[in-house]
Amino acid sequence: MRNNGDFTNTAVKIERAVVSYREHVALREVSLEIKKGEFLGIIGPNGAGKTTLLSLINGLGKLVQGNVWVLGHSICRGSVNGIRKRVGYVAQLQNIDPRMPITVREVVMVGRYGQLGLFRRPHKTDQTVVNKMLELVGMSHLANRPIGHLSGGEQQRVAIARALAQEPEMLLLDEPTASLDWRAQGELLDLVRRIHEIQNLTTMFVTHDLNALPDICDRLVLMKEGKIWQQGQPEQVLKQDILSQLYDAPISIQEHEGRLVFLKAG
């Protein structure tokens, strides 16, 4: 079951995956298949196992039971580094020391380092890729600034450019808009949508915030208590009763200028 034809159209296949951190079981027999080119949204309350699910795919999570195949390769010990190079990962906004001696361009270049391998220095082609990605995310003008001097929204754009500099086949986004202001949030979602289309990626987007869900999701996975609780197309699952049950809180949905807006009711 390694490099056979079963995986021509499948980016990820997870079979009855169990992940636990000491006493706490974070994923309980989760099975999921993701097609190549799909934009998958993963929603659910805090602690539902969304991030753990992502960490399985870039090999940062520890599988206790079950099987995971990513881009045709089984994720097991030793083979994970190769997969990581082909999967871009963007985490939540992190605190960066404003005095950190590393520039925006250098941060994006880090995305090339895995591909380059040990003992090899970045070439002109790597510089070209970095410049292209900086331009794609609209950060070329800040390329020589120290990374810690950028605003949260700008730092997240740089993080996306860094992930794209890997020239990945998959992009994993873990709450990329958390703690961004409204405008930065909107701009980042636009960027994610554009990149998914231009770069021909398979994208997984995790968020607990329903209003930060890009409207191009092909499918939504609803997670609760370490399990996939429901899944389906956005119009099937974005219903008041389903979401209220998912979050254990009354949620009302309203349509505003052609898009759905989610409010905490009551």
Partner: protein, 272 residues
């Protein structure tokens, strides 16, 4: 005196380079911890009758090897685990010292160092480690840069971050071991932290930070030696004070601090 100047140069380069990792990764305390481990190991060597340098090497690398998994798995707060190991090493050092018969001058010289009477063997070892440290930083510069920036991101892009961290700890342990007898257990710490912390105040480029740190390390050693000669002060203490003064000046004239003052003069907020 020539040997002392050379020892200050080599020790300055090795310690100051290692210091860049320590300062940027926010684990300043690791220096003291490994220095005391090396000290305890050297004392055990003297007590039992094998080469003190070997004891120092085994102890500081052993301690680094315990800190490594704690750091990479994040099972324990890194500061806490370093603190526990540090106190253990201090305790062991005193036990070994207490068990030793006769005068303790040789032991205490390990703590204060004896840069003026540095031996040829010490110098050779110091030279080997200084060259190794610089060579490894050049060879693995991009991986080191990525790990210093963010360990998780380094892992996620496919860099063997764990290996790089162990490498950094190994270098730190080796540097401290070979500096123990010429530079002294207490002095090493200031020579690791101060030059790197001073360089950190002055630049946003990691390459420049490595270079500046090394320059500050060497200059601290040389000015310290000169001062100790002029004022017949203890050489180790003079080097510590010099490196602290360099740090103080760097902090005072840091361009990174000017940003703050400029922000303070920003437009006043509007009151509605």
């Amino acid at each position: 005196m020539q040997n002392a100047i050379l020892a200050a140069f080599l020790g300055g380069v090795a310690c100051a380079t290692v210091g860049v990792f320590v300062v940027l990764m926010g684990v300043s305390f690791i220096g003291v911890c490994l220095a005391h481990a090396a000290f305890a190991g050297a004392l055990l060597g003297v007590l039992v009758g094998f080469n003190p340098m070997l004891g120092a090497f085994l102890f500081s690398l052993g301690t680094a090897a315990i800190i490594g998994p704690l750091a990479s798995r994040g099972e324990l707060n890194l500061d806490t685990s370093i603190g526990v190991l540090f106190s253990l090493m201090l305790g062991l050092a005193f036990i070994f010292m207490g068990l030793m018969p006769g005068p303790k001058t040789q032991m205490l010289s390990l703590l204060w160092g004896s840069i003026l009477t540095v031996s040829r063997t010490d110098l050779i070892w110091l030279g080997i480690v200084a060259v190794a440290v610089v060579a490894i930083v050049i060879l693995f510069y991009k991986e080191i840069q990525a790990v210093i920036f963010n360990r998780e991101i380094a892992l996620a892009v496919g860099i063997p971050a764990g290996l790089i961290i162990y490498g950094i700890l190994f270098l730190t342990g080796s540097t401290i071991t070979v500096s123990l007898s010429p530079i002294g257990g207490l002095l090493i710490f200031s020579l690791i932290i101060n030059p790197a912390a001073a360089a950190y105040q002055l630049t946003y480029s990691l390459k420049k930070m490595f270079l500046l740190s090394a320059v500050f390390g060497i200059v601290s050693g040389w000015i310290g030696l000169l001062a100790s000669y002029l004022f017949s002060a203890p050489s180790g203490a003079a080097i510590i004070v010099t490196s602290s003064i360099i740090f103080g000046l760097a902090a005072l004239f840091s361009p990174k601090r000017k940003v703050k003052r400029w922000q303070a003069k920003d437009e006043p907020s509007r009151v509605l």
